[in-house]
């Protein structure tokens, strides 16, 4: 969405369409300067973002090996065919989708509700922002250590809470392939809700107070105000939050890798957490690249 205004402005000020006197003094003859300004970022961008992407696309059509130099023999779509034919590829895909389905609704709805409620509170907003947002800046290593401990089978906080309400704690939520995803989803909701929360708070700031005042004068109840003013006016924010959330959820790696490394094997691995790149004998295994904590990459 940022691109649109810039693009339109650029076309508008193109040298042929504009008279000289309306052009800003910055616009004429700056081409060399502009490229010099772009160069440092551009170099890193090419070297570590665009370059690797293109290289990866090219090598995906060859039998490239990580232990041998060169592209290797041409493979066409064979690597893709092999990947698509693997059961663990599809199960990893499904688990990622499952994770996205589990996490997106609570992360959007809870963030929305918390933001609306926080926005109504007159005092101590800093406290709620601290409570909801602080986890977001913590490292995934910290998050996973905290939650693995909470989910300790039998004696952990989760199990104790289950006992307190009369449930029988099982073998531990992370130990079983069926529930591990739920455990990871809970930890993730706790961890990343703050981001959406802050986006919603910012969205709420933009709604003019007068609208609520006018609605109140007309006798609208609080519920009606939320329903007919807040909700529609936060539509743009919601679209954005949902989109960003789906992207973030589909990119999950750290939590799965850290919280369940080893344990019930590849059952709930996401594609990014299974080894990067195809791991056939010819395409070179990713295992040598995983020096430590390698338990989760070795199975399958």
């Amino acid at each position: 969405m940022t691109a649109a205004p810039a693009v339109s402005r650029a076309t508008r000020t193109s040298p042929h369409t504009l008279s000289k006197k309306r052009r800003s003094p910055l616009s004429g003859g700056d081409s060399r300067g502009a490229w010099l300004f772009l160069a440092p970022f551009g170099l890193f961008y090419l070297a570590f973002l665009l370059g690797p992407t293109i290289w990866m696309i090219i090598t995906s059509f060859f039998n490239t090996s990580t232990v041998k130099a060169g592209l290797g023999s041409f493979a066409g779509f064979k690597n893709y065919g092999e990947m698509l034919g693997r059961a663990d590829f599809w199960s990893a895909m499904w688990h990622t989708l499952q994770f996205t389905i589990y996490t997106t609704p609570p992360l959007v709805i809870l963030a929305f509700v918390f933001a609306i409620l926080t926005n109504r509170v007159r005092r101590g907003q800093w406290f709620f922002r601290l409570a909801f947002f602080l986890p977001y800046i913590l490292p995934s290593a910290t998050i996973s250590l905290i939650w693995v401990f909470i989910f300790t089978p039998g004696t952990g906080l989760w199990a104790s809470a289950q006992q307190a309400v009369g449930l029988t704690p099982g073998a531990g939520i992370l130990a079983s392939p069926n529930t591990a995803m739920i455990g990871i989803a809970i930890a993730t909701v706790w961890w990343t809700l703050g981001f959406n929360f802050v986006l919603y708070l910012a969205g709420l700031q933009e709604i003019p107070r007068e609208l609520y005042e006018a609605a109140a004068v007309d006798g609208a109840t609080t519920w009606e105000q939320i329903r007919y003013i807040t909700l529609p006016l936060l539509g743009r924010t919601t679209t954005l939050v949902v989109l960003l959330q789906i992207i973030a959820s589909l990119k999950i790696f750290d939590q799965v890798y850290l919280m369940t490394s080893g344990a019930p094997a590849s059952r709930r691995r996401s594609p990014s957490a299974s080894s990067p790149g195809p791991r056939s004998p010819t395409t070179g295994s990713a295992q040598p690249l995983r020096p430590r904590c390698s338990s989760s990459s070795s199975s399958s």
Partner: protein
Amino acid sequence: MALTETRPRTKSPISGAAPQARTGKVGVSGRTFSIVSAIVLVVFAIVWLIPSLFALKTSLTDNGVAALGATNILKSWNPTLHSFASYFQAGDIWNWYLASAITSVVTAVLTVLFGSMAAFALSRLRFRGQNIVLLLILLGIMIPTQVLIVPIFQELGAVNLLNTYWSVIFPQVPAVIAVFIFKQFFDGIPKELEEAARIDGAGLWKVYWSVVMPLSRPVIAAVTILTFVGVWNNLLLPLFVLSNPNLMTVPVGLATVQGSFGLRYADIQAGALLAALPLIILYLAFQRQIVEGVTGSGLKG
């Protein structure tokens, strides 16, 4: 940012014109709603704080007591700093802190400098191919960087940068989002200022460095802190490119040793908190900038 309160006041001067009965009803329902929502909010805030507080409580408990389970941890009232002390005595944590601090600070500086320069060119200058450059950079947002880990690993290996701090720093410098945050901000700076400077004979660099950058302090702070936090928390890249234990960053070091702790839960939780400690301090010091940065990266990215 000032979070203004949007609750409608029935006391507002105009509302006197509304029918009396109605105003009364709105007032009551509004007040009940406020009380209920405050209670709900407080309950959730406490739920959200429990994991961190429980980790803190555990880290201050003796390892032996912590091994007995959550109820024993909550009941114990003998706080000890033993677990924290053991980290500082073992010494590894200092290496981790050093590695994380160096990589985070250097990446943040380079990202801010190069990102703002690129944004300056895109926002302030007109040149051939501008749209293509913009499009290419926009494309960068859509590349999930984690899938690039293998080519980046090979690339760093080819230039002998593996197992150096540079191998963690360089791949994180091209943060596309930083360019967009800067560009967004630069677009809002009035052109007259720099035009005046240009007429006075200032070169492009002078305009960028002495006119635009000093006006951009808030966005510089936001991008710096966000980059710092992002690099500090990055697990995947340093996990791949650093195998020398002396160079490991905090998340990698923690991920590496956590397996060897076994049932020493207090030590584990102390480690988890120590990894996050600098970020918690940073958050408390720069709360506003962090929240604004996140908002900017989300809403404007």
